[in-house]
């Protein structure tokens, strides 16, 4: 057991991420790729993941919630009659594009799986099942839960890496007990 209290805290923090199911074995695979020449590899990959996946989440959000599209907007201002007429702002409802949604989530799940984001990956799988059964309400529910897990993971990993930067990374990548 490391006698340095901060390093002990870091080890406990790391262990809890596995114990609570936020991370899986794939995270350890990434840790094993870290060496003196690439001491921050895991943090770099995770940072890239959160940057990249934020875009996918936005795409999914758009595809789920912004499914109205203006087809015609016409604005007329008639000076002579001092009348301002706002005309024909049509919105028509677009059906859910489950194939598109599934495509976005396939990408998101792939990235999540690559960094060992276990709970996020599980929610992605559930979302895709709802896509395949064309269950819009299920998709929305699953997406809300996914965003919660994603936000929680992000917060925990940010705290973990912030502490790691203070102490230096743990010397060896160890499998969770």
């Amino acid at each position: 057991m490391d006698r340095n209290p901060i390093r002990r805290q870091l080890a406990i923090m790391r262990q809890s991420l596995f114990d609570q199911g936020y991370l899986d074995e794939q995270f350890i695979e990434l840790e094993q790729l870290q060496d003196d020449a690439n001491p921050n590899f895991v943090e770099e990959v995770v940072t890239l993941y959160f940057r990249d996946s934020a875009r996918l989440i936005l795409n999914i959000h758009h595809a789920l919630y912004v499914h109205f599209s203006p087809t015609l907007f016409l604005f007329l201002f008639i000076h002579t009659h001092k009348v301002m007429i706002l005309l024909l702002f049509f919105r028509e409802r677009k059906p859910f594009d489950f194939k598109k949604l599934d495509g976005f989530m396939h990408q998101f799940k792939g990235s999540s799986s690559s960094i060992g984001a276990n709970k996020v990956k599980a929610e992605s799988t559930l979302f895709r099942e709802y896509c395949r059964s064309a269950n819009a309400e299920g998709c929305m529910r699953a997406f809300q839960q996914l965003k919660k897990e994603y936000a929680t993971l992000r917060k925990k990993l940010e705290a973990y890496f912030q502490l790691a930067r203070q102490t230096g990374p743990l010397e060896t990548a160890t499998r969770p007990k």
């Binding site: 790729l33 990959v45 792939g110 990235s111 690559s114």
Partner: protein
């Protein structure tokens, strides 16, 4: 014995690899995995770029080919590379798990298939096939 690799037009005994994946996280991880094994590697983001880089005259000992990519997917890219006469080891890597989808990918001309995420042990098993 590692095959002679041509990279940038110069012959060397170092093994070379091409990573074909539209996902930035996966490209970063696969690059690092290959680096760790001392394999020189470059990455492209879709199947068309993989075909184009071969058309430019470059060849690789190993191609790690993702399946789902925009512009040209891994199945089509693998078919085209084989039609061009490319005999490199092509290992498909994908998150797909349905047998039918994997079979279609393999039948396009893969030498190996590994389910993502790619790990060091999976990569070593691919490399052993080149050497063995």
């Amino acid at each position: 014995m590692a095959a002679q690799g041509r990279h940038g037009g110069q012959e060397s005994n170092k093994m070379t690899a091409l990573v074909v994946d539209d996902n930035t996280v996966n490209r970063m991880i696969h690059h690092r995995l290959l680096d760790n094994l001392g394999i020189e590697n470059v990455a492209v983001v879709n199947g068309k770029e993989a075909v184009d880089i071969h058309c430019s005259g470059k060849t690789f000992d190993l191609i790690l080919m993702d399946m789902d990519m925009p512009v040209m997917n891994g199945i089509e890219a693998t078919r085209q590379l084989r039609e061009m006469g490319i005999r490199s080891m092509i290992a498909g890597v994908s998150t797909r798990s349905m047998e039918r989808e994997i079979r279609e990918f393999i039948e396009a001309g893969l030498d190996d298939y590994q389910e993502k995420p790619l790990t060091m042990s999976k990569l070593i098993s691919i490399v052993h096939k080149i050497n063995g």
